[in-house]
């Protein structure tokens, strides 16, 4: 297909064809990541700006490595989220960066919709590296690449996503992407952590984790944020682990070849037992490797020689 999109701000905007193109492109970059000299000249002379208003060493490092393997120059710009009145506005900051002519801005921001605002206002490409509780498209794409690698397909699989759905941008992007690609998605968690109208996403929701993972092909565990306990959304880590933690006993309900995923960082012993996290069925570290390939694919499609109007293999 011909890639025409300037920005990737969310899975909600991407068609099946576009998602497939990104996954296929990432597959071809995996080979680069196996080489001894892990570098191709594709984006030589181009600059990628990582604009992070929220600390995230993992995602930022993954984008930075991806850019460097494509021979792009990278600049990391961390800022604290400043609201109006406390100095320069977000739009002014970004207009300043744009005036230095980078090829791409990768943005992480605590406010939902910020990448969408920027994408409308600047001419250069914008990649969403996580916006509030809205979307985290590169994470969902790497998860989908992982599933496709192991299972050979996404269509027709049953994926259970367990944990804090309501505050999770990873869950939202995965729900949108996986259902669009034909998977059956179940979500599970305590009622305080599931949005009231979640079924409108075309998913099944469960308060009972055992039912949710019954016969699942993929179990995706989400990180539980311990400050939610202070907000009285669940009573204790202990109770959470008892009802929504993934342990070996529970795992037996899933398909025998079910895989386990987690976007990290994990709370061992809370949402996931150590014996599960370290088992052969756990793909948690492979996800991280796939993250670099996915981010290379996004940078390549948006800024590469074929970025504007060329054909992508």
């Amino acid at each position: 297909m011909i890639w025409r999109r300037k920005d990737v701000v969310g899975l909600a905007d991407l068609s099946v064809e576009e998602i497939t193109t990104i996954l296929d492109t990432a597959n071809s970059f995996k080979e680069v990541n196996q080489r001894e000299r892990k570098k191709v000249p594709t984006l030589r002379g181009k600059t990628v700006v990582n604009l992070f208003y929220e600390p995230s060493t993992r995602t930022r490092t993954s984008f930075e490595i991806a850019a460097k393997r494509l021979s792009a120059d990278t600049v990391n710009f961390s800022a604290s989220s400043s609201s109006i009145g406390k100095g320069e506005t977000l739009l002014d900051t970004v207009r300043n960066i744009e005036a230095m002519h980078p090829a791409i801005i990768v943005v992480r921001h605590p406010n939902a919709g910020t990448p969408h605002l920027l994408a409308r206002r600047v001419k250069i490409g914008v990649i969403n590296a996580g916006d509030g509780a809205h979307e985290h498209p590169s994470q969902a794409l790497l998860d989908m690449l992982m599933i496709r690698d192991v299972k050979g397909r996404i269509d027709g699989l049953t994926v259970a996503i367990v944990g804090d759905i309501v505050h999770s941008r990873v869950a939202r992007s995965n729900i949108i992407g996986l259902t669009r690609m034909g998977a059956k998605v179940r979500v599970a968690g305590p009622a305080t952590l599931l949005p009231a109208e979640i079924e409108r996403y075309g998913v099944e929701s469960y308060y009972n984790m055992d039912e949710a993972i019954e016969g699942a092909d993929v179990i995706m565990m989400l990180r539980i944020q311990l400050e939610r306990q202070r907000d009285a959304l669940f009573p204790s880590k202990r109770e959470y682990a008892r009802f929504f933690g993934l342990n070996n006993e529970r795992l037996a309900r899933a398909k025998p070849d079910a895989i386990i995923m987690h976007p990290g960082p994990m709370n061992r012993g809370v949402e996931i037992a150590s014996e599960v996290a370290d088992s052969t069925r756990s793909k948690i570290l492979d996800q991280v490797s796939n993250g670099v390939a996915i981010r290379m694919a996004l940078l390549y499609l948006l800024a590469g020689p074929y970025g504007d109007d060329g054909e992508v293999a």
């Binding site: 909600a12 609201s83 109006i84 506005t89 977000l90 739009l91 921001h109 406010n111 939902a112 919709g113 910020t114 969408h116 605002l117 916006d131 509030g132 509780a133 809205h134 979307e135 309501v166 941008r169 939202r172 949005p195 009231a196 109208e197 979640i198 409108r200 996403y201």
Partner: protein
């Protein structure tokens, strides 16, 4: 010189007038009468209103004029200019200025500036609590004597029930209404739109309808026991409409208002983080919008009020979560209300009531085409078709999602005290 407004369809729900009449204004600006059309005597100015509606001057119970303190958003003069362009001859302005209108010096400043502007009548609302802090009552008696017609901490909710109870009981002393921005702030938290499917999709935290329902219920209960007058501002949820309906049935002295944006738009209109659709209370679901319209039609809600909330572009041109709440409304309220008439949801008479006698009764304001009263009149062309463009806006701010919208119905002349203060 006398003036005669000739040939228009005169509607005054209170005096039960609806038909083609002459409206005669004396040379001192008072109404001399509403009479069957007759030949003009000599020495009169004739305003031809053929094909137009001739209405008692519209009254808006809920505007933010931003002066003192936020003159970059609106001043009393620019707000009054927008009011008369929208057909409003009188507006009630909220106390969340800087300094807050919790002291007679602020009330006097507002009234002085309104007198200088000499356009719409401006009736200030005083604060319920000092500094809108929700703790100590403002000096309501003195503020009433200085010209405040009611009290509201609008923008904030008086969260402590005992303080709210005392405010309602104390206000009985002067028989003044307490108007409420009813949102339980502990339930709303820092949420920025209606809690529902669309907030879930956008990843924005939502204000649950329960936050409004609950506070409306609390205040109706408190008003009932206090025997006090309560006015519920900008009703946005189905639950709140139902609670007010029940409360009225119990004889609670409660009045309420609905805004044009809540009866026209819904949460889905926020689209892709469009900050012009961000307000408090937020745009609700289609079901809630329907309930507000039903409430307006059946008398549960007494008034259409705009919650005119001007903001400079800087505080709207940013991330949705950081954007200021509110839209301007004075210049679009009548055509948007007229849409409900055209859709068969409100009768013409009911629509006029909601914009004139309904609000007037809630805050004891003068109204209607009464002989001897100052002639406040709005002349409205119900068939005019146009696109609402930004350059029509007379308000100092332009934060409205209605720019670009096709409108039907246009104010052609506004008369305050017998003097034409606006013509199209």
């Amino acid at each position: 010189m006398k003036t005669i407004i000739r040939g228009g369809r005169v509607i005054d729900p209170v005096r039960d007038i609806d038909g083609v009449r002459d409206v005669i204004i004396d040379d001192d600006g008072r109404l001399a009468g509403v009479e069957p059309a007759a030949d003009s005597p000599r020495d009169v100015e004739v305003i031809d209103a053929t094909g137009f509606l001739v209405l008692p001057g519209l009254i808006d119970l809920h505007v933010h004029l931003r002066e003192p303190g936020f003159e970059q958003k609106e001043t009393i003069a620019t707000g009054a200019r927008a009011a008369v362009a929208g057909g409003f001859t009188a507006v009630c302005c909220m106390a969340n200025t800087n300094p807050v209108n919790d002291h007679v010096s602020v009330t006097r400043l507002i009234l002085d500036r309104a007198r200088e502007a000499n356009l719409a009548r401006v009736y200030p609302l005083g604060a319920v609590t000092r500094g809108l802090a929700g703790e100590v009552l403002a000096e309501m008696g003195e503020l009433r004597d200085a010209g405040c017609v009611g009290f509201s901490d609008d923008g904030r909710c008086v969260m402590v029930s005992s303080v709210m109870r005392n405010a309602l009981v104390y206000a009985r002393t002067f028989d003044v209404p307490i108007a409420v921005h009813a949102i339980d702030e502990t339930l709303a938290g820092r949420a920025v739109m209606h809690e529902g499917e669309h907030s879930m999709r956008l990843g924005l935290s939502g204000v649950p309808s329960a936050a409004e329902d609950f506070m409306v219920a609390r205040d109706c209960v408190l008003a009932r026991h206090a025997g006090a007058r309560l006015h519920v501002q900008h009703v946005s949820t189905k639950g709140a409409v139902e609670i007010i309906r029940v409360a009225k049935g119990y004889g609670v002295r409660v009045t309420a208002e609905g805004t044009p944006h809540h009866f026209t738009l819904i949460d889905e209109d926020v689209g892709d983080y469009d900050t012009y659709f961000k307000m408090a209370p937020p745009l609700r679901s289609a079901e809630d919008r329907e309930a507000v319209i039903e409430g307006l039609a059946d008398g549960t809600l007494d008034a259409i009020a705009t919650d005119h909330a001007p903001h400079e572009s800087l505080v709207k041109d940013c991330e949705f979560e950081n954007a200021a709440n509110g839209i301007i409304g004075l210049e679009t309220a009548l055509p948007l209300s007229w849409d409900l008439v055209r859709a068969g949801r409100l009768s013409v008479r009911r629509c006029v009531e909601l914009l004139t006698s309904g609000p007037a009764r809630a805050f004891d304001l003068p109204y209607g085409l009464t002989k001897g009263a100052p002639a406040d009149i709005t002349i409205f062309d119900p068939d005019a078709r146009y696109v609402f463009t930004a350059d029509r806006i007379r308000s100092l701010s332009r934060n409205t999602p209605f720019v670009g919208r096709d409108m039907v119905g246009e104010v052609v002349r506004t008369i305050v005290g017998g003097r034409t203060v606006f013509t199209r």
